[in-house]
Symmetry: C2
Subunit: 105 residues, 2 copies
């Protein structure tokens, strides 16, 4: 992603997450701006490899995707994508924080 002038680090982070969503939006789907479940799984494997190396995290992600399935339209909206990533991140947020602090030592 090109660095937009003047955006903060946090805004760039959000832009990256938005771009990533649209990168995986199903082009074949008649419903616009949604990701298919199969594309979502591909995305998690490719874009979040380190966050899902732990088996527990991978199982948690699978469970979260299954819960999204419950919506029954088989496609993931931006809101659902955001919720999913939050659901993966939230249980490991403290761990990420610890890693960050170690890197700063």
């Amino acid at each position: 992603m090109a660095e937009e002038e003047g955006l903060t680090e946090l805004e760039l982070a959000i832009y990256a997450l938005v771009s990533n969503f649209f990168k995986y939006v199903s082009k074949r789907s008649l419903v616009r701006n949604k990701i298919s479940k199969s594309n979502l799984r591909k995305m998690l494997q490719k874009e979040f490899p380190h966050m899902l190396t732990d088996t527990r995290n991978r199982k948690a992600a699978d469970k979260l995707i299954q819960n999204l399935d419950a919506n029954n339209d088989g496609l993931i909206s931006f809101e659902e994508y955001w919720t999913l990533i939050g659901g993966i991140t939230s249980p490991i947020a403290k761990l990420i924080r610890q890693q960050e602090q170690q890197n700063c030592d």
Copy 2:
């Protein structure tokens, strides 16, 4: 934030959002790992200035913070923080996408 070796752009984006949460965690609070509402407002002004320049976005953010207030503990957990940022981003996701595409032209 130091760039952790081997992390993808998306993982770095998430790490930045996690770091930002802990940066604003109230140090005085007895409840750990939560952000006070006043710190949350400061954070939004400082870290997301371009995303909230539009009056409509700012009003939407205010409304979202008020809704978080409804939880009544007066402190924002990581999950609530994630939901809030998703709530700000979601309505402007398409706009962000358009800006990105213009920058790539």
